[in-house]
Each structure stands twice: as C-alpha cells, then as structure tokens.
Symmetry: C4
Subunit: 234 residues, 4 copies
C-alpha cells in the first residue's frame, strides 16, 4: 500500500544524507496520506546504505503500525502530534545537522540577518522552550511534538516552515516530504551563515521588516515571481 | 540563437554548484553579447540536476524575453542595470555562498589581509550601503543593481571584480561569464580566510599598499608575469 | 589465522578514513579475539590506499607479534593496556579528528549540551589528566593507556564509549571494532556541534540529567526502543 | 629529460588539489635533481584539470628555462633561493590553504598545542617577518625566499619541514616533492586544529618539551619506531 508515498519518503530520507545533514542514522523524514490518515516514516536505526522503499513503515495517526516489518523511527510520536495538530502539512523532516543543532543547543532562535534567510522564513527561525521535567518523564516524544505546536501556535506554517527544538535539533515541514527535506537543507545553511555573521559582527541586528517581507513574498506571496509558475520553487 | 553563449552560461552556472557555492537553486550567472545587446541568463528556480543550455533565457537590456520558455532569474533586473551601466563587463555571477554572504550580512567590506586577497582585488572587497526603505518598496532588483553601481563608481572594475550587497550576498563580474564565476569562487575563499584570520588576530590590519599592489599587478597589471601570455589567468 | 577479524579490522580502519576522520595515516583501529587472547591491529604508517586485510598484524596481549610481516601501529601498547584492563571491550579506535582533537588539546571534557550527545554518552565526554613527565619519559604508550583506564575507573564503558586523551586526541571503544569506529564518528560530531554551540552561547550549561538519561536510555537502556530489536543500533 | 621527476612533480601538484589545499590554480610544487642542478616546477596559471607531466617546466638554479613550452610558476624565484640555500631539501610546495594562510595573515607562528603537531614539527610552525618595503619593491619573489631562509637559519629542516610566510601563506619542503606536499597537508591540518583549540581554550599554552620531543622523535628520531623500517613514514 501507499507505494508512491513510500518511494517519496525513502528518497527524501536519502536526500537528507546526500545533503550532508545526517551522520550515521541520525535523522528521519515522513509523509502523510491525508485522505487515508496514514503516515509513512523511516524505520528506526536502519543504515542509509541499505535503505529501500519497502522498508518504510506505515502507521496510523495513533501510532499503530499498519504495514511494515520494522519498528518505526523512535521519533514517530513527535511526527504524529504535528500531523494531527498542523493540518496543512504533508511531510516532516528531523535532523541533527551541525549548525541548526548548535543553535538549538544554544536555546536561541536564529535572527533574520539577511535575504538568504528572508527568502525562506518570514522572521527568526523559532526555538521551542526547553521541556519541563514532567514532560521529559512523561510521553517524551509526544511532548516534543506539543512543544513545537505551542511555539508555532500563532504563526503561518508557510512563513515558518521549521523550528528548533531547544537542546535537541531542527524539525521542518512542508506540503510534501520532499519540501520538508528541502527546508532542512535551508535551515542548516541559514544557521551556518548566521553563526559566521555573528563572529564577524557580534552586535549586528536583523534586517528590517520591509526587506524581509520583500524577499519572502517575492518567493512565497500571492504575487510571487520567483521560480516557474506552477513548478517547484526550491 | 546565441547557442555558444548559452552553453557558456549553462556551464558557468553548473560550475557555481560544483564549486560548492550554491545550495539548492540559490545563485545565478549570466553573459552578454554586446554586439546584439542581448543577455543570456539562468531560468528562475530550476534545479541544477536538470539544467541544460536550451533552458537558458535570452533577454534584451530592458528585460524583455527574446527567447526561452522559462521565466528568467528573478535577479535579472539587477544584472541588466550592471550591463547597462558597467560597459566593460561581459558576465555576472551572484551567489549566497557561506562566507561571502556572512560578510555581506555583517555589512562589512573584507579587508585585504594578505596576498591571496591582493592577487585578485586591489583593496578591500567593497560592500554596498543597505538599501533605503523606498528602494526596497520600489523596483527592488533594479535598486540592488544601482546600489552596486554607486559603490563601484570610482573604482576600476578589473581591480574590483566583485562586491558584497549589504544584507544580501556577493555579485561578481568579468570579461566573460566564466571569469565572473571564477571571481565568485575567489570572493568566497577570500572571505573564508579573512574570517579565520580575524578569529586568530582580532586586531590585525590590512597589508600595506606596496605589497598589495605588487601582488595585484604581477597578475593583472600591464607587465603581469603570472599565467601564460595570452592564456587564461585563473 | 583470524581471517574474519582481520577483514573486520581492515574495513573499520578504512571507514575511519571514509568518514573524514583521518588525514594521511593518522589513526588506527583494532579488534580482539577474547577466547584466544589475540589482538588484530593496523600496521604502522601504511597508506589507506594500499591497505588490505592480509596486512593486519596479530599480536598477543603482551605485544608479541604472532603473525604479520609489518610492524604494528606504534599505539599498540595503548590498545593492549585497554584490552587487559577493560574486559568488556572488543574493539578500539584512535584518531586525530579535527574537533575531538581540539577539545583534547584544550584539555577539556565535552559538556553534554544536547540530546545528540546524550544519545551516545551519559554525561560529558571525559578527558584524561595530562601525563606526568615521568610517564612521558617511561613506557609512554602504555602510560597513555593507563591514563585512560584511570579516567574511566568508576564509569560504565557502555555509558562512556570513548574519551579524550589530554593534549593528544580521542580513543573510543565498543563491543566490536566496527562499533568503536562508529563511536569515533560520534565523538567527532558531538565535539563539532559543541564547539559551535559555545560560539553562539558562551555561558550555556549542560542539559539536565532527566533529559540526558531519557535520551541515553531510550537508545541503550534495558528498555531501549531505538533501532530494531537485536539489530545494530547506529 | 628528467621524465621521472616530471611525473613526480605533476603527481604532487595534483595531490595538492585532491587534498583540498588548492582553489583554482593557487599553489605550486617543485622537485630538484641535485646532481644536474635542475629544478622541475609547475607552469604558471595552468588549470589542474589539464595538467600533465609534459607541461612541467625545467629550470636551472639561476632560473633559466632549460626545457618546456610554458612559463614556470611566478613563485619560481622563491623556490630557487630555497634550493640554493637549503641544500638538504629535494622538494618544495606552496599553497594558500585556508587555515595555514589565516595563521600567516595573522602573522602568527602556530603553537605546538598537541601531539598531532609534535608528530611533525619539533616546536611551533615558524612564521617569517613581514617583508620590508624595499624587499617588496625589489626582487620580490627572491626576497620571499630569503625571508624564509633567515627564519629557519638556526633550525633543522627535518624538525621544521615548513614555514608560514607572513601575510602570504605556507611553504613546505622535504626530501622529495611528494614529502613536501605531505607536509603541506600536515601544516593545514595542524593549523585548523590549533585554530579550533584557541576558540575552546583561549589561554591554553603549548605542550611541554618532553611530550613534544617524545612524539617527534618516535616518528623522526634516530630510534624512530613509527612506520615501517625503510618505508615511507606518512
């Protein structure tokens, strides 16, 4: 079942690695079939060299395995909270990429220091609050999902296609799993350039709202003129 | 039409990516046929994996598409201002490469800290002023071009083959699109070494003018003795 | 003799290089056959391009060469101390990878700044004390091994699968040589993210013990649910 | 003539690029036939993609081209001063590799912060004084060579197989051009680890002389036991 989505999810996971965002097996991407309410996700701890579409695991929105011989990613409950609460998203990616993880460990949002950032996020890349002790002791992976949901409660998911989980690392999303992975690549590069920027100019501030919106909207607004009409915009 | 220039522009865009200066589709290079007054430029938002010479878009100096099925790069108006105002240049490249973009986001010119820099720029790599709000609200991409033109008004384009647009990223140029792309590679490497230099010696100053000119002129002056006579000098 | 172990040790050494942890010939990995009390280790100063399983050297626990035409790694005595004193380990790897070596040169343990770290170490990556002058003048490589043994005396080797030797570099271990090499990859990535984290937030502290243990135990505890049951967990 | 040396010099130059030390054409390596008093060096400004052994240029110790259709590297006079004054060396390499160049631009020698460094240099990697204005205005490339000669006047060339030219970049040497290039790789990696070390521990000092000598001598001393007897030691 869901063969096409499995292929897409497998390819997206492999792209995470090809893009240099993943060390060993650290990372996972998933996609959802909204009509059927089923999620396809990477199995836990499987090496990228051996990964195939057939290995992808199908779970329902409560986390029951519907198809697949392998255990799904241990982060599956985080993904499921996001799919249940954020109805517009079709795919999710999670990595421990170097620079985005460093910002997450620093418990800092990434300020919008330039147009490269503004092309993709309409403001700082947000960071969640660190989890409370009870949340860590409880349903930890679900609580991670809830921390994300709270942090984007008043935001457009298109304007903020990802977030940093404090002390952990980045989660990104999109209309598809492929778009979610592209957004992981984007967050890592934004994070890297911002870190170097602060080294060169410790007191620099974010760009003004007009420049930020000009760039974001020319790419993602109703009158966007970046990319090919109807085509992919990455 | 302009098949040779299309091949050259396509190859130059691909080189940007092979050199590691481009993430996803962030970057563009163009070349001009001065006799016909036509510019060949990369289409907007097309992935490098699929890029071919036939996809390159031909525009006139006012930005009208003369040939091509795809929309030209959204930065085309910036390129066209440069081609109209800087008559000696034959090619332009624009990237969001990590270190050059970080200097641009820091709104800092790159000081000439060593001979690697002086081999290619006869002084600091300049940075534009940040755009005024009216410029952002107006014909933004053209204004970006004008900010560059103002910043190089009193400079030799051979002595300063590129610039940082504040809060944005590097633009470089050359006699050909190939040379422009080489200058993008050079600016990124200069930017990277300079960032590390400041980490090691926060109070270091630029090299003296004699050493700077010795290196620049042995490579680019009337009595240059670097490279092969009549050959390419990169 | 020990053909299978030789293949495994050779492959593990090659993986060190493929993972970018090794420059020239700087690094070595070994594995032990506990029943026979024999260790297989990389020969000293042999280039990775030419490395083959047959070249691997077999030594006993006192360092006598049992089989092999080449001289074993000059760090062999350090490995042997660890195999004699730490009876649970089956493999060892030693590198001069950039970031882990920098922390070792800084004589600092790596604080547990996030879940990426806690997934693999149940606390800071420890660092030995610098060797005393007498130790340097004496049986230096053995003393290096002893410094490691002292530093992990009260620790679980599964909770701390590696260490930094002060002023030198990382040593890691595992049930097999393959696991030891995976732990070298992990230590380098942890070291790198932690260095960037401190640049972004100089006063950040380690994560709390609950979050640290949650991550460590979900992957390595008795009720671990990361990875596939019975499968490898990297 | 000198076909074998040409092959060796060509291969060494290509290795500089494969090792990531060279951007575009920035770098050169040469080797000398001491019996004939002839030096083989890379031609100036030739791209690595097209480089072949036949292109290598043969010059005598006064710089006259003895064989070759191309102009020799513009740094040839620096190489020749070194060959004339430092009679033990058989090969030289010069790069603008990122971290070594940054230390050179910082006008700082690289302190010996750990055993990785001590394995190859018996103390800090030295740096020349910046050239005086008269030296820049005079026979500049020769003066660069003289600055190196002065800086290593009281040092063993085996204990210090390279140097940083202030405001410029690293030069390294060895018994052969291959060894010189290996030393360029070593200097870059030492420079990189040292830069990260200072970021983690700004007040760290060099290791003590006993540890430094222990490492240097076990690899390069009369009773060296690293590597295979009679074999290469890299």
């Amino acid at each position: 079942m869901l063969e096409e989505l499995k292929e897409e999810v497998c390819a997206a996971n492999l792209l995470l690695q090809q893009a240099g965002l993943v060390v060993l097996t650290w990372g996972n991407a998933s996609g959802i079939d909204r009509e059927r309410g089923l999620v396809v996700i990477k199995p836990s701890g499987v090496s990228y060299e051996e990964m195939s579409a057939e290995q992808m695991v199908v779970v329902d929105l409560e986390g029951n395995v519907v198809e697949g011989d392998l255990r799904p990613s241990s982060d599956t409950p985080s993904h499921l909270v996001l799919y249940r609460e954020l109805e517009d998203i079709g795919g999710i990616a999670h990595t421990h990429s170097t620079y985005a993880t460093a910002w997450a460990q620093a418990c800092r949002s990434i300020p919008c220091y330039g147009t490269t950032h503004a092309d993709h996020f309409r403001g700082a890349v947000p960071v969640t609050r660190p989890l409370e002790l009870e949340a860590v002791r409880g349903s930890y992976e679900q609580e991670t999902g809830w921390a994300i949901v709270r942090a984007v409660a008043n935001k457009s998911l298109k304007e903020f296609p990802g977030i940093l989980v404090a002390q952990h690392g980045p989660f990104t999303w999109g209309e598809s799993v492929s778009e979610a992975v592209h957004n992981s690549i984007i967050v890592e590069q934004i994070a890297r350039i911002a870190a170097v920027t602060e080294g060169l100019a410790p007191t620099v501030g974010p760009i003004n709202d007009e420049l930020r919106d000009k760039h974001f909207l020319r790419k993602h607004g109703p009158e966007a003129y970046y990319g090919q009409a109807g085509g992919q915009r990455h």
